[in-house]
Assembly symmetry: C2
Homo-oligomer: 219 residues x 2
């Protein structure tokens, strides 16, 4: 993907604005497991994912985690440049879940163009609204869905992302995605195993009855 | 408040843009209890609160509610004009919690100016980021705070909004703010009463030990 492919409004930018973005953009290869941004770090800049997978999550004071959303190929991460907007009063962590190639647009370059360009500012609005929708979806899941439904939904989503029924993932990691302690995850996975939905082994969870799990998630 | 007072960037709008906003804006007096916007209704437009108090909340399929945030004098409600942005994929309800005077800017007028004006688009970005921060705060409360802390925090906030220690509010309504069933609220309020934090009577909750309640909320 070229830089322009990330911005549907690219042709509405003046050529000087396009140049500002192109000249300041840095390309990076990020190994899996790297923490790219944490709330307390400096303003990293916008992250544009070319290949790979990023995870945005929040962290409690006690070290518990919950995944807010994933960023895949073609996605733009705005909250790694949250210093651009003073009304963003929360701290998001971003880590590479897979080996990832991305472009970084420094926050000050991006902001200088966005301050002048209504198309870029409106596009940025849409990006933020998309993430806002992700978080509202998550909030509704936590409020109104039972844990078994959330866990089934998570396993199905992981399976789709990885393209396999055999997920290499620990109960601890699942807990970090869903915001629950490991013991709660283990208990529910054992219940799923008794119901014939999954098969557990050391470090893996295998989906053995996809249809039943989709039903579990839907109800 | 004048229309211009809602927009710190008013002077950066062209006079034609200012006129578009002024001419399309409608003034309304809304009685307490009115449902101003629900996800399924038409696109209401931006709401600018002159006096009074609005409540933004979401609703589960089973009819449970949780308050997302309040809008007070000088606040702008964006999600009542969510049709402006196609990336907003969630449904927010807005009701008047007090008799409220407001201005409504129709979504199409606002959007026509925002599409042309970088200052207005960037200001709108800040408004959305502020609401996003409110929702992230709420998400963290729900995930990491115990219910007693959330209830104590809610009572203190209500007391500050109403300017009194004697809150006229039912357990059912408190449940609708916090996303919990009435029984859960009643049980915790009785516990608070036993601890000497509140005094319960028909239709009222009186804060009797503010210092202890603040301590409860802080820990």
């Amino acid at each position: 993907m070229e830089l322009r492919d990330f911005f549907p409004i690219w042709n509405q930018l003046a050529s000087g604005q396009q140049e500002t973005l192109i000249e300041s953009t840095i390309r990076r290869a990020i190994p899996k497991g790297t923490l790219l941004h944490s709330g307390s770090m400096d303003c990293t800049g916008l992250l544009l994912v070319q290949h790979g997978q990023l995870r945005a999550y929040i962290l409690s004071e006690e070290g518990r985690e919950i995944t807010l959303y994933r960023l895949l190929e073609g996605d733009i991460c705005l909250f790694s440049a949250s210093c651009m907007m003073r009304s963003i009063q929360f701290e998001v962590m971003i880590e590479a879940e897979k080996d990832t190639e991305l472009w970084i647009i420094p926050a000050d370059s991006y902001k200088s163009v966005m301050d002048q360009s209504a198309p870029l500012a409106n596009f940025t609005n849409e990006v933020m609204a998309g993430r806002f929708s992700d978080v509202m979806w998550l909030l509704e899941q936590i409020l109104w869905k039972r844990f078994d439904q959330r866990l089934a939904g998570f396993l199905l989503e992981e399976s789709a992302l990885e393209g396999t029924d055999v997920l290499k993932i620990t109960h601890e990691t699942i807990g970090s995605h869903l915001g629950n302690p490991r013991e709660v995850v283990t208990r529910m996975l054992r219940y799923f195993q008794n119901e014939g939905l999954v098969k557990l082994a050391r470090g893996t969870v295998e989906i053995t009855n996809r249809a039943a799990m989709q039903k579990q998630y839907g109800t």
